[in-house]
């Protein structure tokens, strides 16, 4: 099976097509509702404030050519203060649609992992950047947690465990490309097909 390792090159992204299964490796960052709202309001729409410069610089480096994961994990804190992921499946991505395209462009993201797919703005940003949307298997939280080999750190823990930005190293994290950098969204295709069936069933 094809593997992808962060940081990911544009060539690798362009070679991916909607429907491909890939195994993701390397360092990625979790971020969901609070994190996306925060990045837009504090870094993208406004100049970075001095007390948040360090966080911004860290994220810039982590996300450049990198991947953000829509995930609110269950996390175990060990006696020595270190963390490990107990359960870590994807959360529904469409809630980030209003933010995602700007975040992809600003941080030079190459991939967004989540579930349920995203909309037209994100698909457009994927084509331009280029980047891809990677669909993890919703609910497969214990399985995916096993591919999280290490928790390297956490930002914005004050958002709560699910909403914090966890920096993790993954090995062979299985995902399906459902939105590629060529303008194809598997979600749009399935939606159109199912609409035809629905119309047939209720007309």
């Amino acid at each position: 099976m094809p593997k992808l390792t962060t940081p990911i090159s544009d060539e690798e992204i362009r070679s991916l097509k909607a429907g491909d299964t890939v195994y993701l490796n390397g360092i990625i960052v979790t971020g969901r509702d609070a994190a996306h709202k925060f990045m837009i309001e504090h870094f993208i729409k406004k100049p970075v404030q001095p007390d948040e410069q360090e966080l911004y610089d860290d994220l810039k480096e982590l996300l450049d050519g990198g991947v953000i994961y829509h995930c609110g994990p269950v996390v175990k804190t060990h006696d020595d203060g270190s963390y490990s992921f107990v359960a870590a499946g994807p959360t529904t991505s469409i809630r980030e649609e209003v933010y995602q395209a700007d975040v992809i462009r600003h941080f030079n993201l190459k991939g967004v992992i989540g579930k349920g797919g995203m909309g037209g703005n994100t698909l457009k940003a994927c084509a331009e950047q280029p980047a891809v949307y990677l669909h993890a298997i919703g609910g497969a939280a214990s399985y995916i947690a096993q591919s999280v080999k290490e928790v390297l750190g956490v930002y914005k823990l004050e958002f709560g465990v699910p909403e914090a930005m966890w920096v993790i190293r993954v090995e062979d994290f299985p995902v399906v490309v459902t939105m590629d950098s060529h303008g194809t969204s598997l979600h749009d295709t399935i939606q159109a097909q199912s609409k035809e069936v629905l119309v047939g069933l209720i007309s």
Partner: protein, 297 residues
């Protein structure tokens, strides 16, 4: 030991652990069957493979099947004389303990401040309903309902002109199929659909959720509803949305419908969309002398 001094906190923690980490046998069987219906090598088959593997890992390691451990919904049947106030306190204590043990993710957020309480307790959290009954025993059903599928759950007010849905079972069929279409892959299907016909907006949603406690292979005692369940099940699976919305033959694993009385003016159809991780567990408590007899299912 009597019901007055009974403390079931530990038993509630174990019930939560089982619900969060062990998928019920009928759901597993449904997923296995679904896998056999998908094309070899398809994304749908791959998704079901991963799901089944995940279910095994979660049970073996006693870790949550899904990280979104959802809203815990407790339905408690209790004998005359039991204090539901005490049982509620014990359930809250158990939710906090289960969070500490990582069986539950901290999942209760203050809607005004945005602050996570950190222990799955808060205003009206967890959800609990108490029902007095004639048995000299306590029976508890627990459902963990995740947020992704809750967000695609929905309610229709019939008639619905756009869908050509009138105030009859044909209208119900139309809106439930529309709900499946609207959800696409966002509710982590294949789904179990709990449906309530009638009621008001509140009681309808509650009734629709309560249908999710039913076994996948049970038969509705009402022949009309049984036939409707069967038909919607087959038609939902013709839609091709598939596991995770990847496309495929399995969009629903089950359809469970109940009817309630309604006001003459209202005809609601409430649809509780449940993800494949239909996490339910139950326990029975009986007092035998000094011992508390407990069994889980």
């Amino acid at each position: 030991m009597d019901y007055k001094t009974l403390d079931l906190t530990d038993q509630f923690v174990e019930l939560i652990r089982r619900a969060a980490t062990q998928l019920p046998a009928d759901m597993r069987q449904g997923l296995h069957q679904a896998k056999g219906n998908e094309a070899p090598g398809s994304a749908a088959e791959g998704a079901l493979d991963t799901i089944l593997l995940n279910v095994d890992i979660a049970e073996k390691n006693s870790t949550p099947i899904c990280q979104d451990t959802g809203t815990p919904i407790f339905e408690v049947k209790y004998p005359v004389g039991v204090s539901t106030r005490k049982l509620a306190d014990q359930i809250r204590a158990a939710a906090a303990a289960a969070t500490k043990n990582n069986y539950l993710r901290p999942n209760a957020v203050d809607s005004l401040t945005g602050k996570n309480s950190g222990d799955n307790t808060g205003e009206d959290f967890p959800t609990m309903h108490f029902h007095e009954w004639d048995e000299d025993a306590i029976h508890v059903d627990l459902l963990l309902k995740g947020g992704g599928c809750e967000n695609v759950s929905t309610q229709y007010k019939l008639p619905d002109g756009d869908l050509g849905a009138g105030r009859d079972l044909e209208g119900v069929r139309r809106v439930v199929l529309d709900a499946v279409y609207q959800a696409q892959g966002r509710g982590c299907g294949p789904a179990v659909l709990g449906v309530a016909i009638g009621g008001d907006r509140g009681s309808g949603y509650l009734k629709s959720k309560q249908q999710l406690f039913r076994q996948l292979d049970d038969t509705n005692p009402d022949p009309q509803l049984a036939a409707l369940e069967e038909r919607i099940f087959e038609e939902a699976n013709q839609m091709g949305i598939g596991p995770m919305g990847f496309g495929g033959n399995t969009t629903a694993l089950g359809v469970k419908i109940a009817a309630q009385h309604r006001l003459p003016a209202s005809y609601f159809v409430s649809v509780a969309y449940m993800c494949w991780a239909n996490r339910r567990a139950s326990m029975d408590i009986q007092l035998g002398g000094e011992e508390v007899e407990v069994s889980y299912a």
